[in-house]
């Protein structure tokens, strides 16, 4: 019994110490991580709209060129010069959440650019979903009637994109994320037009 008590006490102390350490480091780094995320998001929106900026003036350039519109708790980033609209998407991949920014033309149907900011898929396989080379396939693709990931060798329709060879599950998960988030954001955007 005494030995069991000693074990429990040790694990408890260990748990408390490490939890304390984690919470402490989290508190220390939380702000910086948040700032980095915001900077990444702004960079993605500006890149999609081909606006040039540098590390120093990214926030001022963003405020000048992009209008942030909130509809029903959903945030849209409108590029006033071209009418392109961007929003962030997030959903479940195979191993963890996939999140990023998608930019559409002013018809809210044609894709201008997609940038994946965070994902936990298998590096080199499902992880290709985040690579610029693969995401370039999405440029000019239409989100209506719905985005489809094409697994066979038939020629692609205007709303179809090739799947990643060997990473079927990640490709399918990404398709679901895209369509679900699009339905959500499109409903909000349409309600705003009225």
């Amino acid at each position: 019994m005494k030995q069991n008590m000693k074990m429990m006490v040790f694990v408890l102390i260990l748990g408390l110490l490490t939890s304390g350490l984690l919470v402490g480091v989290d508190a220390l780094t939380r702000d910086r991580i948040e700032q980095n995320k915001i900077a990444q998001l702004k960079a993605a929106v500006l890149d999609a709209n081909e606006v040039s900026y540098n590390f120093g003036n990214i926030h001022t350039v963003f405020d000048d060129e992009i209008e942030t519109i909130v509809v029903d708790e959903l945030t849209f980033y409108l590029h006033t010069a071209s009418g392109n609209v961007s929003y962030t998407f997030i959903g479940g991949g195979v191993w963890g959440p996939i999140s990023g920014v998608i930019t559409l033309e002013d018809d809210f149907e044609t894709i201008v650019a997609i940038k994946v900011l965070k994902q936990e898929e298998t590096p080199g396989l499902g992880g290709i979903i985040a690579e610029a080379k693969y995401l370039a396939n999405f440029v000019g693709i239409k989100m209506v009637p719905s985005l489809e990931v094409n697994k066979d060798s038939s020629p692609n329709q205007p709303n179809e994109v090739d799947a990643i060879t060997g990473a079927t599950r990640t490709s399918e998960a990404f398709e679901i994320i895209m369509n679900d988030q699009y339905a959500l954001y499109q409903a909000a955007w349409d309600s705003r037009e009225e």
Binding site: V11, V23, D26
Partner: protein, 193 residues
């Protein structure tokens, strides 16, 4: 209800945690020398994984409510270790026959990636309690299926095949696993998770 059944089917076949997600390989390779051990280990994994999934879900809800999800990984590790320890004590006292059958595998399960992975997956996929229980049960049954399949093949091969000495042991196990993994790809699209 049918959704839960589909979840269980999916986690046994086309989302098999051993042959499709390639998790829990170390104990899979170590304990698959004969079917008897494999059955024991498989049963132990089923009990531990289902139990810990059921216990970790309300704990995670508590973490969410207090805004401390960052500690989820750490807390899960500790609850898993505690559950295994308690299970060992419980089995030794009340069901000694079962304890003799597979009790020795219990400490090994603490470090089996499958246990932790199931908990991390239900967090990622935001499952409900029922879905978590079904997923934990299905995944562990899938893992048990994989180890029993592997053990059956290894046992048979040891009796009738004339393997070169370099292939015996771990090398041939990898080749068998590769073929099994390839076969399970055939289940893709069967049921959704």
């Amino acid at each position: 209800m049918s959704n839960l059944f589909e979840l269980i089917l999916a986690s046994i076949l086309n989302h098999n945690i051993a042959l499709v997600y390639i998790l829990g390989m170390c104990p899979l390779i170590a304990i698959s020398t004969n079917v008897k051990n494999a059955k024991g280990m498989g049963l132990a994994v089923i009990i531990v994984v289902t139990l810990t999934a059921i216990i970790n879900w309300p704990i995670y809800q508590l973490l969410l409510a207090t805004g401390t999800e960052k500690l989820a990984l750490l807390v899960f590790i500790i609850t898993i270790a505690a559950v295994v320890q308690l299970l060992e004590i419980f089995m030794e006292k009340f069901v000694p026959s079962m304890y003799n059958a597979f009790g020795i595998f219990l400490p090994l399960i603490t470090v089996n990636c499958v246990v932790l992975a199931v908990s991390l997956f239900f967090v990622n996929r935001e499952y409900t309690f029922g879905e978590t229980a079904a997923f934990g049960f299905g995944s562990s049954v899938g893992w048990a299926l994989a180890i029993i399949l592997l053990a059956g093949i290894r046992e048979k091969m040891a009796k009738i095949s004339d393997l070169p000495k370099g292939l015996q042991g771990k090398a041939i196990v990898f080749i068998i696993l590769g073929i099994l993994a390839l076969a399970f790809i055939g289940f893709t699209g069967l049921a959704s998770i």
